[in-house]
Symmetry: C2
Subunit: 196 residues, 2 copies
Amino acid sequence: MKKQVPLNKAKWLVEPGCVVLVTSGTMQKPNVMTFSWQTPVNSADPCLILLAISHLRYSYDLIRQNRQLVINVPGQELLEQVHFIGQVSGRKIDKFKETGLTPIPAKTVEPPLIKECAGHLECKVVEIFKMQTHDLLICKVVRAEAEPELFAGRWIPEKFRTLHYLGGNKYGVLERTTEARGTNNGHGNSLTRVCL
Amino acid sequence: MKKQVPLNKAKWLVEPGCVVLVTSGTMQKPNVMTFSWQTPVNSADPCLILLAISHLRYSYDLIRQNRQLVINVPGQELLEQVHFIGQVSGRKIDKFKETGLTPIPAKTVEPPLIKECAGHLECKVVEIFKMQTHDLLICKVVRAEAEPELFAGRWIPEKFRTLHYLGGNKYGVLERTTEARGTNNGHGNSLTRVCL
């Protein structure tokens, strides 16, 4: 059973740069998109994740309505669903129905979690920076949870394999950890916080 | 020998979410930082990469001076250098000297390339969005190059293993490709461009 992740550890669900499934809308009328253009932009107090989203997306229409979304982290076993969701528009089909993925209620926002994913970030959009083709959504994480056997303050690639988009129908699979011998700063901080 | 990558393919050097080494300053006085808070924000015409950078960073002082930087992509063999560079500030030490990495002149910008990296994006900062602790630098890629044996319009994980930051001194290693059976859209487009 998934357990809540402290908000100051939430960004580690997406820091490795994995493909995610972003849900929008409501439990009654949800949509889901495959996404790899995201990055943390603040570690904690608050934890902020940026999504760069095309103006044309149906999901963006839904996000504009309640300014809420959920970032769900799929593993390799969801490869076919991830790719399919990346190829079709929710304007035309019900992607949950087509893929068999299961929407379940989030605790703090209207869009659903995807039951089959190993971690979830429930988010509220707190700021939008406008660009020509894409907007930058600054998303405040309000609740996070993950499978404790797969996420111990960080993903464990030997147990949970994230997908990383290479192009076309190809994805890289993260399945091995390596450790630098150099000193660990002990705080679990992001590189972007440590190195000046 | 590295070969030029067309600008409409440049974003594939960073799309998988790998750790990068960002160089700033000049050939005479360069700095380098380890970075994982980046994402493409426009595929082509122009290719734009966003970096979320802390106000406190020495590299940001340098970037403010000429509004130029280079995104270099290291492989697993540079793990110790990547981690060390992420732990120390260029205000205090010469990170090139300490790590033995080799700065070589870029073609279009003042900051150097890192010879030991497999790919490079020469960038000019075209817009800055201000945030409380980090700023969002919108970087236009003006020239890209990569090792043709390792990058064939996409990285080949079986030949070139990118690093993905997990936290502390731990990194995930991307070393295997998987392919979705579903139809490829044939354009090599980003998921974020395809799925609405």
